[in-house]
Symmetry: C2
């Protein structure tokens, strides 16, 4: 097997010689990432981490793909309400549905958290998980982003795609840990990110196993089961992954506790935040990922030396639009 080993060595050598992150500028974040990966994968070094422990977790909205002008899942929910409206004539006079159907943004915002939950419930429950996956896939095949006039899945970030692939090539297991709905993400993330459904941690509604026309189905119920955001993210990581990440990437306060949980483990750690400061190629909402307040994760990142990635300065390419 000596000859085989030599061939593998040569093959790996030529892979390493290529730039693993070509869409990243040669600035500090890229260097820090590569140095981290080289440290934890170097056998025999004190910083070496066994492949089994190489868990990397990524937020989705604002970290792996865009989240403006509204979360894409909410755009889906609104389109879904419109598609269902002909079967619900009463919605013309009922909030928050009337606001959605007439495009009345002010009334929609006024409906608040309760209105949001009603929109999510009618668009995300009642059907089987398989029916929902089909509805989601069909939406992605036809819906277009209002600014870029392209499928929403075109608005994934090329640099984090490369980062996911680079980590996997170095023995990392890559997970999504998102506040978004797990059933909304699973139909497309494998193709978009190379992340299989069982490596997606997200918010979820309650499910029920039952027989419909004699066939087993799993039905999505109109009740929240788990919110995978803020302090829910370390909990979601424990529930679904059962190991503390050594590498975590986010972009807002929704990710702060995930980053704290990652940072507080023993040994080498990498914590990163994507900074939205590129109005021309993406958006420049800076620290305002939520309405009316400033993300605090940035203060902690600065105080603790987490890596802040400027989309403007550190990313040579944003979207893989040219296909």
């Amino acid at each position: 097997m000596k000859l085989l080993a030599s061939f593998l060595f040569l093959a790996l050598g030529s892979l390493q010689a290529q730039d693993p992150l070509p869409s990243w500028n040669d600035t500090a974040p890229k260097k820090t990432i590569i140095a981290f990966v080289e440290r934890v994968t170097k056998e025999g070094s004190p910083e070496f981490v066994r492949p089994e422990e190489r868990i990397a977790t990524f937020d989705n909205d604002g970290t792996l793909w865009a989240e403006q002008p509204i979360y894409f899942q909410f755009a889906f929910a609104i389109d879904r309400v419109k598609a269902l409206a002909p079967q619900h004539l009463e919605w013309k006079k009922e909030q928050p549905f009337a606001a959605v159907l007439s495009g009345d943004k002010k009334a929609l915002v006024a409906s608040g958290q309760k209105g949001l939950m009603q929109i999510m419930a009618v668009s995300h429950s009642g059907m089987s998980t398989e029916e929902f996956a089909r509805i989601v896939a069909q939406w992605f095949a036809t819906a277009r982003h209002p600014r870029f006039n392209r499928p929403y899945t075109d608005l994934v970030y090329q640099p984090t795609l490369e980062l996911l692939a680079y980590l996997r090539a170095n023995g990392f297991k890559t997970f999504i840990v998102s506040g978004g709905g797990v059933e909304f993400m699973r139909p497309w993330v494998e193709k978009a990110y190379g992340i299989p459904p069982d490596q997606v941690v997200g918010s979820s509604g309650k499910l029920k196993f039952e027989l419909r026309d004699g066939k087993p189905v799993i039905v999505k119920l109109p009740a929240l089961d788990f919110i995978d955001d803020k302090a829910g993210k370390p909990v979601g990581i424990q529930k679904f992954i059962g190991r503390r990440p050594i590498f975590a990437f986010g972009n807002s306060d929704g990710d702060q506790q995930m980053l704290e949980w990652t940072a507080s483990g023993a040994g080498e750690r990498f914590m990163g935040l994507v900074h939205h400061d590129d109005a021309e190629r993406e958006w420049a909402y800076d620290r305002k990922s939520d309405v009316g307040r400033l993300d605090k994760a940035w203060d902690e990142a600065k105080a603790k030396g987490w890596v802040v990635v400027s989309m403007k300065d550190d990313w040579a390419t944003i979207f893989p639009l040219a296909k």
Copy 2:
């Protein structure tokens, strides 16, 4: 790279020539398993299943390891109550704890579901997830099974160990889907079965992220979050895996809905049940995995042609005891 491909081909060829399931007798179950795996992995055949879809789910208690005279997790809980008793002098007069401490089985059974939940709560909550993992690991290092006088982890089944390895060698992703506690299983299943923590689906209690002495911890709360048993198993599969298995193995009614869910998908399927009929080498509780009733899964298995594995007739070895 042609030479490399030839070497890999030769290496794979020599692996295939070995018997992948040496602890299985040459009876129908072994032949059915091997024929199934060969069908779904044969590229270009109509039965071919993409590696991404090759999901295999295994019950744990009674399928991957023994479950007599009581579930091993309950043996852990009882030992834990005894270990904590010096800090809880009131337990001497309080049920169900008094029954545990005095070994009064009748009083313990009389405490019913409520008593069971109290024992599980005091033994499984209050500490951080990391502390609990250490407590579990320590118990496994010292506790001995009453009949075999060996560590409980010696009572895994050699034939299903070989089956897990055989499936993985053929591109399957192997998962545990157990009514047992996920935090109880994770500390040892990677070493015992080669299954990483994120591929363990089980019952769980609620968790809370908080700071203790300024350090982030995840605390196990004394409240049930999810019961991964019976109709909960397909739900657990959807929540944690997000794909329907094409291969499922169980041994009791706790697994019936998992097997039904697996069976009702499109394409090739394998459903198996382990039959405990070997009093000499293991136990012969037959269809009575639960007290006072007969498992019904056997009727469905017989009616639908699921594979029933007789421990007595189909397994040449039960435990990997000779080490």
